[in-house]
Amino acid sequence: MKQFDELSLLDIVDEVKDGDLVGIPADYSGVPMKFTKELIKRGVRDLKLYCLPLTTIQGDMLIGSGCVSEIEAAAVTLGEFGLAPRFSEAVEAGHILIKDSTCPALHAQLQATEKSVPFMPLRGVIGSDIQKYRKDWQVIENPMKSSGNKNEPILLLPAVKLDVLIFHAPCVDRNGNVQIGRRRELATLAHASKNVFVTTEQILDIDLFDDELSAATCLPALYIDGISVVKNGAWPCALPGVYGADNDEIKKYSIAAKTQKGFEDYMKTFLFN
């Protein structure tokens, strides 16, 4: 018996419900763009994006398409190609709620869920306006006598559990183990998510656990709820170690998306060609 569920891309799209808290990988860790395309076509609404720790074109497209009501992130940007225009405009107009955070806090909130503890402490951040506007964060005095500094104020962050995570990976083995390489933040995301779906370039008839080298690059199948083979599934984003970003396309998007009209014209071609 096959050790995992091979699904169609549309099966995975159906697993995302309106209102879900969705894990969003950064541009360097396997952005599931073909999946995002189909999700937008289905007209999903009211998504809450949890970015680890940032998003680029994926988040901007979802926001511009009206799929998002809330986003928690350390940054939304098109990197070398400038601001994420649909995000910026949506925040300026008050159309979406932004929960401003900072990279290590986004990691720590998921790490709390990984360990099944209610919160995680973090140094730094105190005295910033990020902290000031995050009413869900708390500061306590270090209660430990034998570690840290006496009377030191320390920030506590709540554990966050995601409803669903989708990312794109280079390959999966015959048992459904997913190669993530050094992109270990994908493991953090997966450990903290109720459901995890993976799109991949290929399924290989090997066992990644046969070799210590490849075993260390895996996210084990036990965390995965379904896999779909989707060729070139991260385009125009990069899939590290497999293909680079299509910078011409991202640049094209960055120019078109400066206005809602330009964005809509771009998306017609992007979604249906």
């Binding site: 720790p53 990279c103 306006d129 030191e152």
Partner: protein, 245 residues
């Protein structure tokens, strides 16, 4: 005389600030700091010194294997000597704003966000603030939003903080005791009067104020013949613009 790009002078100026480091990390949207760190590493190699550089947005020049959180854990452990931060606005007390302008609840112009600044600014001993645009709208009296504060109360754990601020016109050093910047160097084509006019905050002026140093031919050769190609791996748009690579 070799004709130099303004970016090359900035890279060279930053590299001068990195000579005592053992490990430099470079974050998002930082082609000039990235090039400076690699240049410092190359020059350290010639001197038979070991200098590590971790460039987050590169596959090749990234020393981490434990995911994106490792940068922050590594920095908190005190294993990173220098990191670079920018800002939509930077104020005279070295507070930085990467979020936007206007009041937060009714934001006028929204920028990407704070990235990892709210931890890195606290734990990395030498933070170099780098913002190319030197104008009253970037260097302000008071930032509209504090992504990370320039200094903290005594009881806050804070081994790190601002050391320098570099713009395309000037280099400032941050005075932690006085909580203000001191002007050290200005670009060759600049006057002190103009710097005062274009800076939205008050600052001290060093007694020995000089012009920014011009890189010598050896350094320029390394930069153009080697570093430029390395940078093109992770900032292709920048390398193309500056060096046509």
């Amino acid at each position: 005389m070799i004709e130099l790009k303004r970016e090359e002078i900035l890279i060279s100026q930053l590299a001068d600030l990195l000579v005592n480091d053992k490990h430099i990390a470079v974050g998002a949207a930082s082609p000039i700091p990235g090039a400076a760190a690699l240049l410092a590493k190359e020059e350290a190699k010639i001197q038979n010194n070991r200098l590590r550089v971790t460039i987050l947005h590169s596959n090749k020049y990234n020393n981490f294997t434990d995911g994106a959180r490792e940068l922050f854990d590594c920095a908190a452990q005190g294993r990173i000597d220098t990191f670079f931060l920018g800002g939509v606005q930077i104020d005279g007390q070295a507070n930085i704003n990467l979020v936007g302008t206007g009041s937060y609840e009714n934001i006028q112009k929204r920028f990407p966000g704070s990235f990892g600044s709210a931890l890195m600014y606290f734990v990395v001993p030498q933070i170099i603030l780098f913002r190319e645009e030197h104008s009253p709208r970037t260097l302000v009296n008071k930032v509209d939003f504090i992504s990370a504060p320039g200094f903290s109360d005594e009881n806050i754990y804070r081994p790190g903080g601002p050391k320098f601020l570099l713009t395309n016109r000037a280099l400032f050093k941050f005075n932690k005791q006085k909580k203000c910047f001191c002007l050290l160097k200005i670009h060759n084509n600049e006057s002190l009067e103009n710097i005062i006019k274009l800076t939205g905050f008050k600052f001290d002026v060093d007694d020995k104020i000089t012009n920014m140093s011009i890189p010598n031919k050896t350094r320029i050769d390394i930069l153009r013949n080697k570093i430029s190609y390395m940078v093109s791996e992770f900032y292709p748009e920048f390398s193309d613009k500056i060096w046509g690579i």
